[in-house]
Subunit: 298 residues, 2 copies
């Protein structure tokens, strides 16, 4: 049976079922990061992201920004759990045609971002490959009281996104700034019930929160902050690579946040009961069910 | 300039020079694992290894053993630092032709080994790719007093290897048992000055110890435990994938180990001064300098 038959998430669900974990693991597969016991007041976060030439970036792209992105996507995962990144290792697959200059630029893109976020690049692995491959595994720490996962959304919560959505694949995906500062601000000052980074499109990533939290949601087309690069609503709902935060908080907390008038955080809808599924209210007030569709590898 | 001009290790040296680390890092790039501060009496180990179809395994190979190997090589790195593995994440690149059955077998190979060594598989990433790619990143813990790195060999030390060398590429590399138990036995009962796992051939990996320790070495052809699968001496010296331990200990400790008559640990030579380089004494008593040659990706 081909993978496309059960799809990427069908495969992930099968894998999750086969895995047994011990008590050192607070949260395993199925969130932005794994969460591990660490110290009295902190958890350790552990995540990995692989970039493949031709899928996540094009051949001929500026290698500085390929390297930068490879690190940024993992930082975005740590941010989505409200943590701070600390250490990473990098596995690099390189074709024989790769030049020393290419690798040097790639590395510079990584190290500049690592420096900015105080991340130690502590090891790696080099391999020959037909195409350029970069897999970054990253560790981070989060105060126990600050940890936010996908599974905490509650009916009545207000749903927010950071920044603007859609059109990232036309350039921003190689230069985006992970929302680390914003996630730390949010969890340091407010009660955030659930959070994820939008990597596969708003609809699909919101579905991850709904599934993990056993809730439903309504979002409003009017409220969606479309990027000027987005060609249409579908670019925001179903296309990947935005790397913005998607989070939910109780109504009272949402009011406190809205009072701060921080343009970056925009309310887009609210959490409802599970049986509602995910609904979009369009500009004419018409209701439309949104499928869990978005970027998928299989 | 093509990578082949400066080679795999030339590239690694350039990368090492460009990296800055903070005080949370005991040892960064350049050993079997990165070593990080963790608790009062333990360090955390962090390593990654990428397997690529056509380089580390052939297409058509039993996927159970591909998955098994992907985990085993990282366990071998943790063993070389005398630690115990604890958690891992797996990035998987899969071609569209891959079947659900293939992935299920691959995963079973991983999970069976993970269970055996009490390793939690806590996360991963899936991507489309032209060939099968598996990158495993692994965490482990080691008691501070047990940590062994490549850089501690001293002139006069006896050099040992575990098991037999050579010919692993004819099958063993897919089924080897990482020398975790052996490494823990050694460091729990003896003073081990330096250790590495032999992944790229005895000569090249011994050179890593010599470089990091600023010493030289003499090894004796007569003493090298050639596997029956090895076609000749070069298979043991310069071919990869043995995943045996290579370690050095002071003469007094070596005597204590030899008294135990454990067939698995065989003395193969001794550490000398740096200016001697690496020498092989052949069966006729003739001396021959061994270059730092072995398996290389570039």
């Amino acid at each position: 049976m081909l993978l496309s038959k059960i799809g990427e998430f069908g495969l992930i669900n099968r894998i999750k079922k086969a895995i047994k974990l011990d008590s050192s693991v607070i949260k395993g597969t199925g969130d932005d990061c794994a969460v591990l016991k660490y110290s009295r007041d902190k958890y350790q976060l552990f995540t990995c992201d692989m970039l493949v030439e031709g899928v996540d970036f094009r051949r001929g792209e500026n290698p500085y920004f390929i390297g930068r992105k490879a690190l940024a996507v993992s930082i975005s995962d740590i941010a989505a759990c409200a943590g701070l990144p600390s250490h990473c290792v990098v596995a690099l697959g390189l074709p024989e045609r790769a030049t020393v200059e290419f690798v040097a630029r790639l590395l510079k893109g990584m190290l500049d971002l690592a420096k900015k976020y105080k991340i130690n690049l502590v090891g790696g692995d080099l391999s020959r490959a037909d195409k350029v491959l970069i897999d970054v595994s990253m560790l981070g720490l989060v105060e126990k009281k600050n940890l936010v996962l996908r599974g905490g959304a509650k009916s009545g919560d207000i749903i927010f996104v950071s920044g603007e959505l859609g059109g990232s694949i036309f350039g921003k995906h190689l230069r985006f700034t992970p929302r680390l500062k914003e996630a730390r601000f949010l969890t340091g000052n407010f009660k955030v019930n659930a959070m994820i980074d939008i990597s596969d499109g708003l609809a699909q990533d919101l579905w991850h929160i709904l599934d993990e939290s056993s809730v439903g949601a309504i979002i409003y087309e009017d409220l969606l902050p479309l990027s000027e690069k987005a060609r249409n609503l579908d670019d925001a709902l179903y296309r990947g690579e935005d790397f913005e935060l998607l989070f939910t908080m109780p109504r009272t907390e949402a009011k406190k946040l809205l009072v701060r008038k921080m343009d970056i955080f925009k309310p887009v809808g609210e959490i409802t009961h599970k049986k509602c599924g995910l609904k979009l209210i369009d500009r004419k007030g018409k209701e439309k069910a949104l499928p869990a569709r978005g970027f998928r590898h299989f």
